[in-house]
Symmetry: none
Subunit: 225 residues, 2 copies
């Protein structure tokens, strides 16, 4: 877990360095913008802590250059409270969070952790079909306000259907995508699980989101039935 600290004030840089190392991070220090960009180009940092007031190339420049180059590493900006840039600017120029000096190390640590948490695997948005919804990341689904308790297999099946709304998906596709291409059992399993699903997401609500297309497969109604 590598962190780059771009800071020209020796005492601050040193304090942050020691503190982060004590917390188990690997730390690189750059005392100006040019060196910072060089390091960023050749290393993969988890977070960049960036002072705005730097000799030569300032933090503003660094941040823009970074983003322009398509680097999306989270950036935490350090601003002097009375500085010429304010918080709004910091976000505007592509930073992910900011901290005004003087700051407490505990707060800095907390912010860094928050950034790391956030840059963790991107959650995909919630899938919807009318009032029927499913959150792949949180592994939850429901109809309107009502939560639905699905088994893993049922969940996988519904997720696949929701990713192909208003399209007929063949049982062969379902078998391959939900059960896996290597599945060797009775293909009838698809019908069985569609049955289970209907009894949870449709029957209790008097709806019919999953339609049977005889001889072809199943279709999930994009409006939820």
């Amino acid at each position: 877990m590598q962190v780059l600290v771009v800071e020209d004030e020796q005492n601050i840089a040193l304090a942050v360095d020691r503190g982060l190392r004590a917390e188990g991070f690997g730390v690189d220090i750059a005392e100006d913008g040019t060196k910072a960009l060089g390091l960023i180009r050749h290393n993969d940092y988890a977070v960049i802590v960036l002072d705005l007031m730097l000799p030569g190339r300032n933090g503003y420049d660094v941040c823009r250059t970074l983003r322009a180059a398509g680097i999306t590493t989270p950036v935490l900006i350090l601003t002097a409270k009375d500085g010429e840039y304010d918080e709004a600017d910091a976000l505007d120029l592509g930073a992910d969070d900011y901290l005004t000096k003087p700051f407490s190390f505990v707060v800095l640590l907390a912010r860094i952790r928050a950034l790391l948490r956030r840059s963790a695997p991107q959650r995909s948005p919630v899938l919807r079909a009318g009032d029927l919804w499913l959150d792949p990341a949180a592994h939850r689904c429901g109809r309107g306000d009502e939560r639905l308790e699905l088994t893993p297999r049922e969940f996988g099946l519904l997720e696949f259907l929701l990713r192909h709304p208003d399209t007929v998906v063949s049982k062969t596709d379902l078998l391959a995508q939900v059960w896996g291409a290597w599945f060797e059992g009775d293909p009838n399993i698809v019908e069985v699980y569609v049955g289970y699903l209907r009894r949870k997401i449709d029957t209790p609500f008097g709806r019919s989101a999953i339609e049977t297309v005889r001889g072809v497969g199943y279709r999930l109604d994009g409006k939820g039935g």
Copy 2:
């Protein structure tokens, strides 16, 4: 590409506004729920970014009202980490994604893009002949607003005819393409099924899309009869 940002904190609203404009979005700002609903009623937004903590009508209300009105515009919820609503609630009340404050602009942008990507309807090519239409992917067909219920064989036959409008197709071709080259039964089956089709797509509408070309085959009128 219009985005509505519902946010009462001036500096955040401004930063998001500027950031999104820089990315080429059109941005409207609403500082409370009532104004937001007013704007939504009269504009067609691609995405709505909605803070939950608002003066007056809160984000919770706005989202439910929206959904209750049948508006399906993707909603991205902003929640305070320590707020009274948590992320789980956001999904239940009809949001499509959520982000906890403080959030990074890069992440916000990525999430907005993800929502846009998902809400972009993947158009499947629909076959048409006048008001007669058939969607191969969804396996649906109809005449005008009226849905037609076809059996698989009827559907296959109509699909083939629609792919060769204003062209005479021989019964031999139909047999080979719709029934399969290996078909060994009575070729009369084509006439039988053309009959079935006519009774569903023509007779009830007083039309005649499928014309008989005696001694040659059938022709589907490209204007639907």
